[in-house]
Amino acid sequence: MNDDERRLASISRALDLVESRLRDRLDVAAMAGAACYSMFHFVRVFTELTGHGPYDYLMRRRVAEAAEEVVSGERPLIDIALEYDFESPEGFARAFRRCFGLSPSEARKARRYPSGLARLAISGQYAKRLLASGLKASPSEEPALSIAGSMADADGPFAIGTEIVVVGFAGEGLAGRAPSAFAGRALGPEEPAPAFPAVSTVVAGGPAVAASVASARDSPRRARIDVGLARDYLYRTAIPVAGAFPRGDVELIRLGPDGGPVELVVPLSG
């Protein structure tokens, strides 16, 4: 067993403890104890391997589990709050808003919440995958983009020469449409749209967060990323931990010269 495997095994015990105690009193000292680490070492290793501080993870897991009951049932919110070890409905409401951008009562009234931001349970296997992927999130300021291309399946395959894929979300599609994806090439600032393909789309610029393999970020041959893992990491970890929310209209997948995905960019609101 190497150092990484030992660390993953220790943190897995803490992750398992969280899942078994979502409705019970649990503190970070007990999580560190399950990992057989000192508090200092545990906080560092847990944060490195999961992207969450241990307390942040515990609270997000509780809110994520409670959210399902909030929107699907009729139980009083105070009962749900107390069941998940929140000391008051106000504390639960603050945590809920921090996770989802709306209050539990608003979510109940709408019968929905942005479940794509909910922190699903992290398993030791997931933490291992994340560590092995080398994925890192970085803030970016994305320019407005004009993209010439064509409609595509979000999962590919894409036409040769495709540099960027714009994944639009249903109901808030690009240029009035609701496409699954639009794949093509970003036009230069003064570059006119080509005669063929005739279709183009515009993506608004603004603050964003990008996931890529950090060691390869400035390399001409950037490493491929696992888009599913990157998506999970950005929406459920990096963006929430930073206290931000996704804009929710599109996301961008940049492709490398070989057509493989090298970066996932999620525009942020505000």
Partner: protein, 173 residues
């Protein structure tokens, strides 16, 4: 690793501190974690005003990075990181700095060089303590001491000292 025991050693340090999870921002998207930011903040302050603090040894101070648990640490994992140097004139410290007093304790001191600085050294020291000193480490705080021997993490010619307080003899079992 080289080991030694420092008996009944108190500390009066002047420097700057941070309270929270120092790795949270790096886990999100900053290059630096809060410990790196704290070092930069202190060094920038001292570079701008070299005589601001009476750090010891004079002219070539040794820097201590202290990690200190607070009562709330057990609940949420947040703790204090303090970086500073020993001082004989704590009351002359500038308002931008804080003074950290650590009570006298017996310290297990280990010198770590090059590859020995890889993550996990704290746990290796803790595992060795009982056999080496006859008592476990007290986990309420710990110190790392950096002087001119430190060239950077992983540098084969680099070294720093880990100062880990031992549980007092009368309470150790």
């Amino acid at each position: 690793m080289e080991y030694r025991l420092e008996r009944a050693r108190p500390f009066v340090l002047v420097g700057m501190n941070f309270f929270g999870n120092p790795f949270r921002s790096a886990g999100a998207w900053d290059e630096d974690n809060e410990i790196g930011s704290l070092w930069k903040r202190l060094m920038a302050y001292l570079a701008a005003d070299p005589g601001a603090v009476a750090a010891l040894p004079r002219g070539d101070p040794a820097w201590f990075e202290a990690h200190v648990l607070h009562p709330s640490s057990a609940v949420n994992g947040d703790y204090e990181v303090f970086i500073g140097a020993e001082t004989a004139e704590p009351l002359a410290s500038p308002a931008a700095c804080v003074v950290k007093v650590l009570p006298a304790a017996d310290y297990a001191v280990a010198t770590l060089r090059g590859d020995e600085m890889t993550p996990g050294w704290e746990e290796r020291l803790a595992a060795d303590a009982l056999a080496r000193y006859g008592r476990p480490l007290a986990r309420g705080w710990g110190l790392q001491r950096y002087d001119s021997r430190f060239k950077g993490l992983g540098d084969p010619g680099s070294a720093f000292e880990a100062w880990s307080p031992l549980v007092p003899p009368d309470t150790a079992r």
